[in-house]
Symmetry: D2
Subunit: 261 residues, 4 copies
């Protein structure tokens, strides 16, 4: 079974900043999709902010197993209707991977329920990522640690909920640490946050980073049929109760009536 | 130190439905606040949907240690600006307790990042709550289980993230189960969901239920000074790095510049 | 890749009690292995208490991807050296599934670090298991709930640590609830506890139960190479530090010396 | 209510190594107890390996609210009966704080159910601890980070289960990171691991370290009455079932008979 990945990018720095444009001539989305398409059993396409509906129509989401999200300068330009659509797709079972500055992306903040804030410094310093969960599938094939010679620093405290699992923690040359790989589940959807990927460095061409993203795609992919109604709260009528009961006491709702939302 | 509690209620059923109005002549909010005000070291007041800004101005939140929320018929009428204000107050350290049908309240859904859906049946059936975390502070003084002879049924799957701790699980006469007491942390704020409390039953006069709510208030209260900037993502300039580093490589931001949000 | 499963059973009731012997003529281990061997990509064999080293030599564990454990009457007869060997194999990456009364099995208690106690009643009452984690791989292909008409009751509080995920919760006819499907990770090994399976009922012939066990085997299987030294605490000599440092201050150990255990 | 703390130390380095003896003339246990006894509402005493029953008789544990444990060279000398006694006391509600090299102490390993291994280097390098859980009670009164100029390095992966909460993560000068403050619950008992405290450095005289230990004592203290039977698995006879049921099907146990352990 092929895993269908959509790599979403706001695609702003690439088109407005010569450094980023030269580094990622096909965009960050293009670089990530290219790497994924070399992996067995993964078919990656891209979508960007500038496309109609930001390229993520309902039909597109229905045919996406894992959505990867990169954003930074234009978080505020992402339409709230698209954010709601993405969020519901996750609840229905679509995997979601937020990269780097997508910690402040609307869909990620919505899925976390928290501020997702942190400290930061853009100094091209050394980052070293340590695996903290032995043999975790997202760390498959990686050494105990790997380095990125030039990266932006993100520092704790990171304003996210306690994760299911902490997979990576970063050491920074300037003295900070950061939980760089975190897993969550929201509804039927698996969610992974991965820290590296500042736009002025060639991070997404790094083989270890590519390995993590490929692993994360396989981990986030839920082969179960998508939940067709991930927000429904169905009434169970008294006469269909699994154990025989009789209605007692005062009621607000007529039997079988739809609830409030 | 007195814990300052605000009990928020949409206060709709009480004023529109005779059964509920007769049962809770001071409103559900009034019944809960009355019970809390009998406890040592707790001072509870109330706020309702109908008040200006729904009674939860910024000043009110600044002076609230724990906010209790009950809503059902009018979730959609809660102003989004108020929801954002409440959510930020939680991130800054205010405790938040969502009761019963507040599983679908906007602030709770926003804090969870998930659909918060469930199944339900209004049949006045028996509910029995089991303590699943031995000696948890929220279960202090309670027996291993307690019963509510007439309650609405809520059934699994409950569309919430894995909690920090599961404190109660309910058994229902009609054959369902439900995770009825769940703890979370969002930013600096403690969050508790507690299931019982259908408006047509005298649940909030039950002494065990009152005990749980009082315990939850004490548990959710964070005595630390509120975080004044719970969404800030401060830049750490290179020259203030804790370990001496020099900026290297290309940069997007000028040193000390504010980041994107 | 075939997943190699060893189904371990104390095999005492089957040989000492006519009811159990008639119900499981090939033993509970035989029934479980038979069902697994009908699944694609799984090869199950069995081991019992009565075999030398209880059938779980180091070589056997080295060639087991997932170990399933059933015990009840003879927990105390399991050799502590075998328990230590099983525990280390889990830490190195072997999956472990504890069934029913194995809540009190030595390896499970050792992996949990807790008492693993509960309440119980043997009355052949109805149990209904509810899925609490939507689309969890261990619930793949299952309906929202399924029933076992005759089962032993296990009741909360269940003396286990908070799990990574709660996959099933049981409703019992006599009024109790129980967290019946719980996931954990210990070292590199995935651990699953599954409640049903009292020896006097045909539970392991139930197709839903068989489905859960098959799913759990696939979930628990970690395809990564087994950690060859899961208890090692290696010294990192100063001259091999990833960042250049010089030893400072007083030392207890000579450089490169092995640590205390 | 005064919190009764017992500070346990193997007390070996202090008596065998001049550097450690000079640094901690009253032992590490003495230094920690002295600091705690300056705090309001805490009464700390000490116990050491060399005392009869290592100073932790059942009576002592019955009168200890929080047990702090330091060990390194003599883990193997701790009697298994004492380990079982300590573990059961935790399950019954006693708080337990493991310090530094107690990651390999028998009671801690028993409570974790995992190998608790790590990498290490004794070079007197700089450690910087970052708070990762905003306003956590164990971080009360601390800045966002604090430094220890000379410490032993502990590196990831740390072989412990996913914690309830990660409170501190350490940065090391030589390039490693470590989860330095982790919370757990085992039975009714709260457990905290705190990393710093190598015996050749004056770590336990550091005011931030003392603050963490005092905070952890308050957090770990469970004011509920101790569970008198933390390993019991009581039978619930059919005629005492909360819902009326009749025994059906074959049984292994006579009604009310004690279960297997």
């Amino acid at each position: 079974m092929t895993i269908r990945v959509t790599v979403w990018n706001e695609n702003v720095h690439e088109t407005h900043n010569k450094i980023v444009g030269d580094l990622y001539p096909d965009g960050i989305h293009g670089a990530i999709a290219d790497a994924l398409n070399k992996a067995d059993g993964i078919a990656a396409t891209t979508a960007t902010l500038q496309e109609p509906e930001h390229g993520v129509t309902q039909e597109r989401l229905d045919n996406t197993d894992v959505l990867i999200w990169w954003g930074h300068a234009a978080h505020g330009d992402v339409d709230d209707a698209v954010v709601a659509r993405v969020t519901e797709a996750v609840w229905s079972g679509m995997g979601f991977i937020a990269l780097h500055s997508a910690h402040f992306a609307k869909p990620f903040k919505r899925l976390m329920g928290s501020a997702c804030n942190l400290t930061w410094r853009e100094a091209g310093e050394r980052e070293r990522l340590w695996v903290t969960s032995r043999n975790h599938p997202i760390a498959a094939g990686l050494p105990d640690h790997f380095e990125l010679e030039n990266e932006e620093m993100y520092g704790e405290p990171f304003g996210v909920p306690e994760p299911l699992e902490t997979v990576f923690i970063s050491w920074f040359q300037g003295g900070e640490v950061f939980r760089s790989g975190l897993t969550y589940k929201r509804g039927a959807g698996n969610v992974f946050y991965f820290r590296p990927g500042h736009e002025t460095y060639p991070t997404y061409f790094d083989s270890n980073v590519q390995r993590v993203i490929e692993n994360a795609v396989r981990w986030a992919h839920n082969p179960a049929m998508r939940d067709p109604a991930p927000t429904d709260a169905p009434n169970v009528p008294v006469e269909q109760a699994l154990e025989p009961i009789e209605a007692r006491g005062p009621s607000l709702h007529a039997d079988g009536e739809e609830g409030f939302k």
